[in-house]
Amino acid sequence: TQLLEQSPQFLSIQEGENLTVYCNSSSVFSSLQWYRQEPGEGPVLLVTVVTGGEVKKLKRLTFQFGDARKDSSLHITAAQPGDTGLYLCAGVTNAGKSTFGDGTTLTVKP
């Protein structure tokens, strides 16, 4: 069974602070995806990383895929209240099956 562990489980910060959340697995995935989910909604894809060591930037969000393609991190610079939500990582196998972590619940207070 492929498991993804996300940390921290909960994070509450002030507007303007920086933060990093982590996604770790003992398994190798063909790609890893990060999603953001708001209450009452389905997850929305933020980014897909494919190559070991890959770094992708999406405005204030920076995503990194570990060299061994087993772990990933999401760094948010100068967090804003609109960043509040559940951040999920998902490892994707060659067959296209996604395994999700349990997420990091981020609260950014104004």
């Binding site: 993804l4 909604e41 998902a90 994707v92 099956k97 999700f100 349990d102």
Partner: protein
């Protein structure tokens, strides 16, 4: 483009009953995956349908079954409901193994 639509949005059922949830994929998508998301957890993969056949299955009992129609829409059926089946059921559509788009989900409560 309406995106992925799921119905109903909310549902309350009694233990032992059966339930059918429906999903219409994003226009042009041929693959539908179903997930169960319990409160405070990430989505758990139930199964995936492609060309009207179950292509992959997660670790869920046979009480969970599905179907995909020629127009690519899909149904998730759960028999003999248990209290533990209470969750948000998410449908995601994609083109083959491309980016998956999720619907808003169906919130199922079993009492």
């Amino acid at each position: 483009d309406a995106g992925v639509t799921q119905s109903p949005t909310h549902l309350i059922k009694t233990r032992g009953q059966q339930v059918t949830l429906r999903c219409s994929p994003k226009s042009g998508h041929d693959t539908v995956s179903w997930y169960q998301q319990a409160l405070g957890q990430g989505p758990q993969f139930i199964f995936q349908y492609y060309e009207e056949e179950e292509r992959q299955r997660g670790n869920f009992p046979d009480r969970f079954s599905g179907h995909q129609f020629p127009n690519y829409s899909s149904e998730l059926n759960v028999n003999a409901l248990l209290l533990g089946d209470s969750a948000l059921y998410l449908c995601a559509s994609s083109l083959a193994t491309g980016e998956a788009f999720f619907g808003q989900g169906t919130r199922l409560t079993v009492v």
